[in-house]
């Protein structure tokens, strides 16, 4: 046990960047003020680990616990590590809105440990109503593996759940525990994923500047401008402004949530009036299109406003912010040739 603790603590301390080490240690409530001050951060990390271990031995607390809580704090502060997947809870029961933190904590721990024998759960409430859950999984024969934990973020009384590094075998267990403890009847994949947790929560909860269609997008200008070619300039400026307006209506204005990619699986008929053979083909043309960028929504908005993408923006692209998802399967609605533009999104 001693060895495991030492190894864990070493790995955890090594993983923290030195700049954030002080801040993280300050959040660690188990350590007293004096103990925290006694830690000399200018020393090597190895020396620091030894010091921490000696403190923990005195306090009679154990490293597994230490690493658990300190790493929850670390991930809360650095939520942009790994890939986050969004899930949606379905069919709330009548008392779903009255679930509070203590009840949720108790229920979740109870349900999950009934389903899995060796599992270690840490729950911590973050400042903005988010409940952070760290789960270390073990199996029938082994202890919980604290080096590969799953993180779950749940907003109380909402239907959104976000998870990172979850093994697909363990997903049913976790979703069952979540559904039961949040008083819902089901959970489904929300088809949204990204590296930036804040961005995907903002997108799902529509916390970005939305632009709505208006008849007069700008205040009416006074008509006293004298220009060389007033007609041409007005027309061009008008078209550009219109494109800009439509782009913002589709994707939002200002700074947009940082989404990295969107994937479309297309299984639609190939239609091209110059290619008769392919147009007459019965089978769908199967392809996968993946858009990626540092900030996908801003890239797409720029494409639309600069004319690379024609306006009005196709529903396929505007569905990303509108429906809050970035993974789509597109098929033809009917097999009849009449369904020219109708496409369904699954």
């Amino acid at each position: 046990m001693e060895n495991i603790t030492r190894r864990l603590l070493q790995r955890v301390v090594r993983r923290f960047p030195s700049q954030t080490l002080r801040a993280t240690l300050d959040k660690w409530e188990r350590l007293s003020e004096a103990q925290r001050r006694s830690l000399d951060l200018s020393k090597t990390k190895w020396a620091l680990t030894e010091k921490l271990l000696s403190i923990c031995e005195v306090c009679d607390t154990f490293g597994v616990w230490i690493s658990g809580v300190s790493r929850v704090i670390y991930v809360i502060d650095n939520p942009n590590q790994g890939m986050w997947y969004a899930f949606q809870l379905l069919d709330p029961k009548d008392d779903a809105h009255s679930v509070d933190l203590t009840q949720f904590k108790q229920q979740f721990k109870c349900h999950l440990s009934q389903l899995m024998r060796h599992v270690s759960i840490k729950i911590k409430k973050h400042t903005d109503e988010a409940v952070w859950i760290r789960i270390a999984w073990g199996d029938a024969l082994s202890r919980p593996d604290h080096l590969k934990p799953t993180y779950v973020v749940y907003y109380l009384q909402s239907s959104h759940v976000f998870m990172t590094s979850l093994n697909s075998k363990l997903k049913p267990l976790l979703s069952q525990a979540l559904v039961l403890s949040t008083r819902h009847r089901g959970m489904k994949d929300a088809n949204l994923s990204g590296r930036n947790l804040t961005a995907i929560t903002d997108l799902l909860m529509k916390r970005y500047q939305q632009v709505f269609p208006t008849k007069y997008p700008t205040p009416l200008a006074e008509k006293n401008e004298i220009e060389s070619h007033p007609h041409i300039e007005r027309e061009q400026a008008g078209a550009a402004a219109k494109r800009q307006q439509m782009a913002c209506e589709a994707f939002g204005g200002g700074v947009l949530p940082q989404l990295q990619s969107a994937v479309y699986k297309l299984e639609t008929r190939f239609k091209d009036h110059t290619n008769k053979i392919m147009t007459e083909r019965e089978e769908p043309f199967r392809c996968v299109v993946k858009f990626s960028s540092v900030n996908l929504l801003e890239s797409l908005r720029h494409c639309a406003s600069s004319g690379i993408a024609s306006t009005p923006v196709t529903p396929l692209l505007s569905s990303v912010p509108l429906k809050g998802r970035n993974s789509f399967v597109i098929t033809d609605n009917g097999r009849s040739p009449s369904s020219q533009t109708q496409q369904s999104q699954k």
């Binding site: 479309y264 297309l266 639609t268 190939f270 239609k271 091209d272 110059t274 290619n275 053979i277 392919m278 083909r281 089978e283 043309f285 199967r286 392809c287 996968v288 299109v289 993946k290 858009f291 990626s292 960028s293 540092v294 900030n295 996908l296 801003e298 890239s299 797409l300 720029h302 494409c303 600069s306 690379i308 993408a309 024609s310 923006v313 196709t314 396929l316 692209l317 597109i330 496409q343």
Partner: protein, 366 residues
């Protein structure tokens, strides 16, 4: 520039390399310097093509597994190569590879002493260079100069005495299906191996390059693969689908938005093949030729790409033509605009290299 024949007459044939270096004159030759002034040279009446061929024969699968050593073939197929073009090599002899190995080893050691960073991580300082010929890596019809493989070995740091040396750098110089008229128009002392592929530490690459430049009085430069070349590769690979599965057809487009947008477009192999066949059939009917026999025309390639782009546009209303094609890939190979390639299938290595040789010949400076 003076006609190269005269300069050749002035150079004594038995002159030693070092002596020749001491003169300031350069004997650099290039495709364009030969083809550029037909009126003066009266050598190359047929060489006016400055563009990529507009039609080429469908690639034939060529089994080179029994011609090449297994380790060489594995190296060719498993590595990602960075491409450069090379102007014709002056006084390069395939019979002197042994001496070149020694010279290059000495050159690397000398550069190291001068303080040029050629260190490779985790290895000792000593490098052993070997030159070898890749006989058999050639097209069936053409009489091309043999491909030369250069390998640099070094001992891993902290290794025992008897441990074998590790391959730290490799590169090759090749010419496959080079334009025969151009090749025969070259003065006798020049060998044309216009395509140079390298893989390994950048420091070593630049040292080897500068050795080649100094020893054979030639120019090396980055070979970027343009839009047309990438499209050709895509079409040629797709054309092989009936014989060997391409698994998927992948294109990556970069669109100039702010921030830049990357679009990766992956097509099911069977559907890509059907689209390619429909494009081929349409033109085969026009020309009333047998499908298997007919050459692939650049128009078919364009039509194929147009089909793919229009399918994309129909869904996303986004003009891919506004951006640029930056990568193409199938199970048979992968290529990027930056001049990096991978030839994953040994059966089509020759075809791919033939196209790239053509690009390299075109890319040479005047």
């Amino acid at each position: 520039m003076e006609p190269p024949q005269r300069s050749m007459v002035r150079t004594p044939h038995k002159s030693v390399l070092v002596q020749r270096r001491s003169k300031s004159r350069s004997y650099r030759q290039s495709y364009r310097s030969c083809s550029g002034g037909p009126s003066r040279l009266c050598l190359t009446p047929a060489l006016t093509a400055r563009r990529l061929n507009t039609s080429r024969r469908p690639p034939k699968s060529q089994d080179i597994t029994d011609k090449l050593k297994a380790e060489h073939l594995a190296l060719l197929v498993k590595t990602r190569w960075k491409l450069s073009y090379v102007t014709p090599l002056y006084r390069f002899r395939h019979t002197q590879l042994r001496s070149y190995s020694r010279q290059l080893s000495a050159f690397i050691a000398a550069e190291q002493q001068r303080g040029v960073a050629v260190e490779v991580e985790g290895t000792q300082s000593g490098f052993r260079v070997s030159f070898s010929m890749l006989q058999g890596l050639a097209s069936a019809e053409n009489d091309d100069p043999e491909t030369v493989l250069i390998q640099v070995h070094s001992k891993p740091l902290l290794s025992r005495q008897d441990e074998p040396q590790k391959l730290v750098w490799s590169g090759w110089l090749t010419c496959i299906s080079g334009n025969p008229e151009y090749l025969s128009s070259l003065p006798r002392d020049f060998t044309c191996l216009p395509l140079f592929g390298s893989s390994g530490a950048d420091g070593l690459t630049s040292v080897v390059k500068s050795w080649i430049q100094q020893t054979f009085d030639c120019c090396l430069g980055r070979l970027e693969l343009n839009h047309t070349t990438l499209q050709w590769l895509l079409a040629l690979w797709t054309n092989c689908h009936a014989q060997s599965n391409i698994q998927q057809l992948n294109m990556v487009w970069t669109l100039p938005s702010a921030p830049p947008l990357q679009v990766s477009f992956t097509v099911d192999p069977q559907d890509a093949w059907d689209l390619w066949r429909s494009v081929r059939k349409a033109s085969a009917q026009e020309e009333e030729e047998e499908e298997e026999e007919s050459c692939i025309d650049v128009e078919e390639v364009t039509r194929f790409l147009h089909g793919l782009k229009s399918h994309f546009y129909r869904h996303f209303r986004l003009e891919l033509s506004a951006g640029s094609l930056s990568q193409v890939g199938t199970a048979l190979g992968w290529a990027a605009v930056s001049g990096r390639i991978k030839m994953s299938s040994s059966r089509y290595v020759v075809t791919t290299l033939a196209l790239l040789t053509e690009c390299a010949l075109l890319k040479m400076p005047i």
